[in-house]
């Protein structure tokens, strides 16, 4: 891939989650050439692993479907999965970006027929379910995968199983010899939409994350999802029993100078949504939300009010001191209520830690001088001259709508950068 002349009008978008997808498609539909890089085998990022969105409780795949259809129609948008940036040289208007692509071992001949998965025998942790269950070593990441193409897990490469997988494919789509490749692309502007990862709950040492019935909020999304490990049934991971008495712990890591000093913005609303998931499944469920402040900003306040009206959803102003495993194995939440001053110690079927969002920029990014704040968020649009633009949660803790808003703004900034180049 090369461009004519010294400058490039191509926009490179790094990260294929909702922000990257939005930035790429909004740029492409404005007439620009766009390359979208995603390091995993499929687009969709974090949102594709959510069961539903607040406050409408609608499914992320609905909007992704429209975005994928838009991508299919945009001939000037090229999607490269399993690809990440290794090196960036040059400057605004004329970046040379070294891209590294990991082997998928399945080429564009793949029809997604599934014969390879039938031939595979090894089970590997399911990356789409945070490893809560397993899938075959030849797999379609999700039923809604884009691109609709299988992946072969590197762990079986070089084994007889891999040969059997290759033999099962009628369409010469399995390429066991594929290796990591690097190549260069030219771009005039780079949009960094590298997203986030959940704060590691193991660092919250007093919160007993090792108890199987203490999970984090992204795992709760998978428990509630129809294509999750429990087919959408909210149960206790320890024994598969219905989880009817549920504690949702806010600010698990966020607003804490020892962990994430900032507020992650989405966790309160995420937990309100989790309360709704539980209440949708069980008539006799009781949900306790432990919080410091419920941050349901702007019109999202109505979602807060809806849950507050439910007599079986309780709001307890308290940051629990500890969570421990009781004698019967149940997680027990312990602390003091800051309103009533009551000291409590309550057992639950399931405890969900509302862990915050940590920018994943550090891990997934080469050495590029970008303006970052002390938390690692790339300060948005700080310098019109740099040609580096951030979008979505790479720029700060945002919800989905704000991420798309930020991505749309980033598309304009990128267009300004390449047109002025």
């Amino acid at each position: 891939m090369s461009t004519q002349g010294p400058s490039s009008q191509t926009i490179l978008v790094v990260g294929g989650g909702i922000a990257g997808i939005s930035a790429a498609i909004e740029s492409a539909e404005s007439g620009l050439d766009v390359i979208l890089l995603e390091q995993s085998p499929v687009l969709g990022g974090r949102v594709s692993l959510l069961n539903r969105y607040f406050p409408k409780l609608c499914h992320p795949t609905c909007g992704l479907e429209i975005n994928y259809q838009r991508i299919k129609k945009a001939k000037n948008l090229k999607v490269l999965t399993m690809s990440s940036v290794e090196k960036v040289d040059g400057e605004k208007g004329n970046f040379t970006v070294t891209v590294k692509t990991q082997p998928r071992h399945v080429n564009a001949n793949c029809t997604a027929c599934g014969a390879c998965a039938d031939a595979a025998t090894t089970e590997v942790p399911n990356p789409s379910n945070y490893g809560l269950d397993t899938l075959k070593a030849a797999y379609l990441p999700t039923e809604h995968a884009f691109p609709m193409r299988y992946v072969i897990d590197p762990s079986v490469i070089g084994t007889p199983e891999a040969d059997a997988i290759k033999a099962a494919c009628k369409y010469a789509a399995v390429d066991l010899d594929e290796t990591e490749t690097t190549f260069e692309v030219n771009a005039g502007a780079i949009i960094w939409a590298t997203g986030w990862r959940p704060y590691d709950a193991n660092k919250l040492t007093s919160y007993d994350y090792k108890n199987p019935d203490v999970i984090n909020n992204v795992e709760m999304e998978r428990l509630a999802a129809h294509d999750g490990p429990t087919e959408g049934k909210i149960v206790r991971p320890s024994n598969g029993e219905e989880a009817k008495k549920v504690a949702l712990i806010q600010c698990a890591g966020s607003r804490d100078i020892n962990h994430l000093p900032y507020c992650s913005r989405i966790c309160c609303l995420g937990s309100l949504k989790h309360a709704a998931y539980v209440r949708e499944q069980y008539a006799d469920a009781e949900v306790d939300i432990y919080y410091i402040d419920i941050r349901a900003h702007d019109k999202l306040e109505s979602f807060h009010q809806k849950l507050k009206r439910d007599p079986q959803v309780h709001f307890l102003k308290s940051k629990p001191a500890s969570i421990f495993t009781g004698e019967d194995g149940n997680p027990v939440v312990q602390g003091e209520d800051t309103v009533t001053r009551e000291v409590y110690e309550r057992p639950y079927d399931l405890v969900v830690l509302a862990t915050g969002m940590e920018p994943s920029t550090q891990a997934g990014r080469p050495e590029v001088t970008l303006e970052e704040d002390e938390y690692g968020f790339i300060v948005p649009h700080s310098d019109d001259e740099s040609g580096h633009i951030s979008a979505g949660v790479a720029s700060g803790p945002l919800d989905v709508s704000m991420s798309v808003q930020s991505a749309t703004a980033a598309a304009l900034k990128a267009i300004q950068a390449v047109q002025g180049a």
Binding site: N109, K170, Y262, Q281, D373, L398, A409, Q419
Partner: protein, 762 residues
Amino acid sequence: MSEQDIIGVYICEGCGIGDAIDVDATAGIATDELKVPLCKKHSHLCSDEGVKLIAGDVAAGAVNKPVIAACSPRVMADKFTFDGAHVVRANLREQVVWCHPAGDEDTQMHANDQVRMGVAQAKKSDSPEPWSEGAFSETILVVGGGYVGMTAAREASKAGYKTILAERTDRLGGMAAKWSKIMPHRPPYREPQDNPVGDLISAVENDNNITVMTDTFVTKTSGMPGQFTVDLSKGGSASTETFGGIVVATGWRPYDPNKLGHLGYGQSPDVVTNVELEGLLGDGPVNRKSDGNPVKTVAFVQCAGSRDPQHLPYCSSVCCGVSIKHAIQMVDADPDVMAYVIFDELRTPGTAEEFYRVAQEKGVIFVKGKVESVGSDLTVTYHDDLLGDDIPMSGLDMVVLATGMVPNSTNVDQPALELEDEELVMIKDDINPLAEITVSGYAEGNEAPEIPELGGQEVPEGAPILNLQYRQGPHIPILADGFSDSHYICFPYETRRSGIYTCGPVRRPMDMGEAGQDAAGAVLKAIQAIRNVRDGKSLHPRTGDLSFPKFGLDICTKCRRCTVECPFGAIDEREDDFPVVNPTRCRRCGTCMGACPVRTISFDNYSVEMINDMSKAVEMPDEFAEKPRILILACENDAYPALDMAGINRHQYSAFVRVIPVRCLGSVSMLNASDALSSGYDGVVLMGCKSGDDYQCHFVKGSGLAKERMGKIEETLSSMMLEPERVTTMEVSIADSATIGKTIDAFAEVINGIGLNPFKGF
């Protein structure tokens, strides 16, 4: 179908199709029964060889309407695109062989019918000719000269676009010009930042791409994206300009504190609003308005009006941060100042948390409580949950009411227009944000809570911002609580008026950091609209679609359903009452087509007739065969993909269904259902997205309209002596792949119970 049309059928044998059905038999349907001149099969059509096979036939002129009977149209679209050919896809894979048993007679019949329907579709559809008439403007109108509007104009200019920036007052700056300092939105997020508005005004005034018009408001807007004609009044003198797109950044105004008498406003000059305090904040300490003495003790009353069903039901988002800024500014100016912030929920989302921390470090006291009253002696009484009692806080020198934001979705400087109810619909709440959510039930002793009455249901006062000369009225539609927001989480700029984008606090309460980005986002959408409509391309979500509705006025009865039901206000009425479509406003959903009782609205590649011909193309087994047929008209955005994913998961369901994807359930005519029944179908299902307050229909009301229309079909059915249960609407989501087959099977059982359609064989 014109005489030049050459249909060819290409049947793929790959992905299990060849194993599950007799492909030769299906090919025989094409050649022998349908007399298609060309039919080929291939082991896997999506291979280079397969694609070349079709491409070669197209290039040789042997076919120009290939019907590709293979996988779902949702996949391989990049491979099955051929210049000069109108491609039709027949879904044999996901919706036949992957969801029905291999080798079964009914599976074979379904496959054969898919080819029949594909050929019928090819006969009744053509590659669309885009609409492009007249001159297109590339200039953007920005309404509102505050921080957001100025930012929008500057962002457009940096992308090379000219704007006219219309400001209703005599100067630029808006509300933000009043701020002494602003909340920090750049690292380290610890100190109030300098107000950028002064510099922004100079930048705007020195920008050759921006024409500033102060003292100006819009008196009339007509036309459509790419071709808006806008009448402006500048200090009473009128002018007319044309624009390609419009950005509305009319901002907000503070909630009227006179409505907050219980919080002491008006009872003492030292009870001020947060906006009024900005005017008192200078470099030095703040002095009391009453006696000029310096303020030593101040209390900030949060949620003064906001989050209160009697006033503003929503959270105004910025007030917590603003009070923190004020407290910090006052303490910085005079370290002896004692500042109390009385709050219910302290909301400093994101990195603003650091600002909150700074205030605590500086000794600002945060008190959790709900303020009940403020007396004329400045005694603040708040309810303390811990003590369960009302606590008075006295000895204060000043009380600041943190009042919230009211969106300027209308121009309150100008009188409201006399409008009919129908034209006011757009400015009444589109949804009830407090509508209940689904719960499975309540435990013993608990009852379902009552849904509170909605506040703020009145029509906002004042004149329309743009005074749109649209059949559906002059206002920009509002979603709820007066905000002109989008109801789509994934698509925050998609509202019901194409080419017009709102941004900033008129859309949603937001701070300046977010609003500046929002301005850039709205400008991007305006530029995108300008670039696409001049090529005849649709805007979101059917982006790039070149088709547009065509009206056969010869049989139009002027019933006005199309002009009323269009979700985007794209259709106006001429003076003689005939409908006239504004093609670039149109988003190609086909709601007009579904509304038209005489089926005279159609697209080049989509029509009531096409759907009918497809449904009638199916071979209808006679009444003795005991093979019912159920027609499913499935929304292509959610229901159709869910059916595909059921196939991908190999979930099995009744092979008696015949599925036709539709652009939106809104495009389905009642005639499609009644015609299907009269041609022998035993049941008809309209499968679409969720309607109601949390609607997910990407054309706003399509699934709701379908429900409403089909609610009226009972009469038609009873006149046909048919059971009303034969026609149903189903709301499914795209995530229903695991259950959609069961839902279909349950309906098939219902039909089984009713018995076969007596019209069969007629």
